[in-house]
């Protein structure tokens, strides 16, 4: 390597890429697979935190006719309905994205275009199913 070459290298500051900080998250535009991925993590964490609540609802629905009536009454409460809608989305998104990961592990749809399509499908399918179950939850049908 010649001296002039080395001078050119030291003269130009080389770009530095650090881990993304919390303040940069808002401007950071993730591709669809990235969005599915972080939502997979967020939905998983939310389901984990709400496990006792979900088990509590399961308990009330199962224990006796009196507790079932209490459960049915509880499910009429708008705040509970909203929490449940969030949990329903969390479960369905985690479910759909999880199946996508299982297929990716089997090396199905790993190229960029296919992975992008499947990620968009996960978003659409999970939101559509959430909407349907949400209508059922709010007593539309």
């Amino acid at each position: 390597m010649s001296d002039s070459h080395q001078d050119a290298n030291t003269a130009q500051p080389r770009p530095v890429f650090r881990n993304i900080g919390i303040t940069q998250l808002a401007q950071y535009r993730l591709p669809w697979p990235g969005k599915v991925s972080i939502l997979h993590r967020i939905s998983g964490a939310a389901l984990f935190l709400f496990l006792p609540f979900i088990l509590f609802l399961f308990d009330k629905s199962l224990a006796s006719e009196v507790s079932f009536a209490y459960f049915a009454n509880l499910m009429g409460n708008p705040i509970i309905q909203l929490i449940c809608l969030g949990l329903i989305w969390g479960f369905i998104h985690h479910f759909c994205a999880g199946i996508r990961y299982l297929l990716l592990d089997l090396e199905m749809g790993v190229d960029k275009a296919a992975a992008n399509r499947s990620a968009i499908s996960v978003m659409i399918v999970s939101l559509a199913l959430t909407a349907i179950l949400g209508l059922r939850l709010f007593g539309v049908f």
Binding site: R41, A45, L47, F48, L62, E65, F68, F95, D105
Partner: protein, 121 residues
Amino acid sequence: MSKHNIGPKRLVVGAHYGLKEWMIQRITAIVMVVFTIVLLIAYIVNGNPSYDGWAGLFANQLMKVLTLLALLSLFYHAWIGVRDIWMDYVKPVGIRLTLQVLTVLWLVGCAAYAIQILWKV
């Protein structure tokens, strides 16, 4: 394990939990997918959304055991997932260990609650 400690096949991770946990997370995921489908079919075939229909479903011994297996899969799956979150974002060893212990206690508590719910019906 010792025969992999030399040459290009040397094991570079120390705790040996990487691949095993990765595999368990996928197996438990499949168990939960199958159970979700079973529950959905059982609920639709049962066709009785009242208390009697719902409780009758879980009064069945087979359904109790299947539900418990699915829930235990869920708790193990959640342990691996939440452990991954702590490992990714929490670097100080003491805080990470504390969070991991709390996670285990949380999930074991949930498992005890789940058993109580199922065998009360």
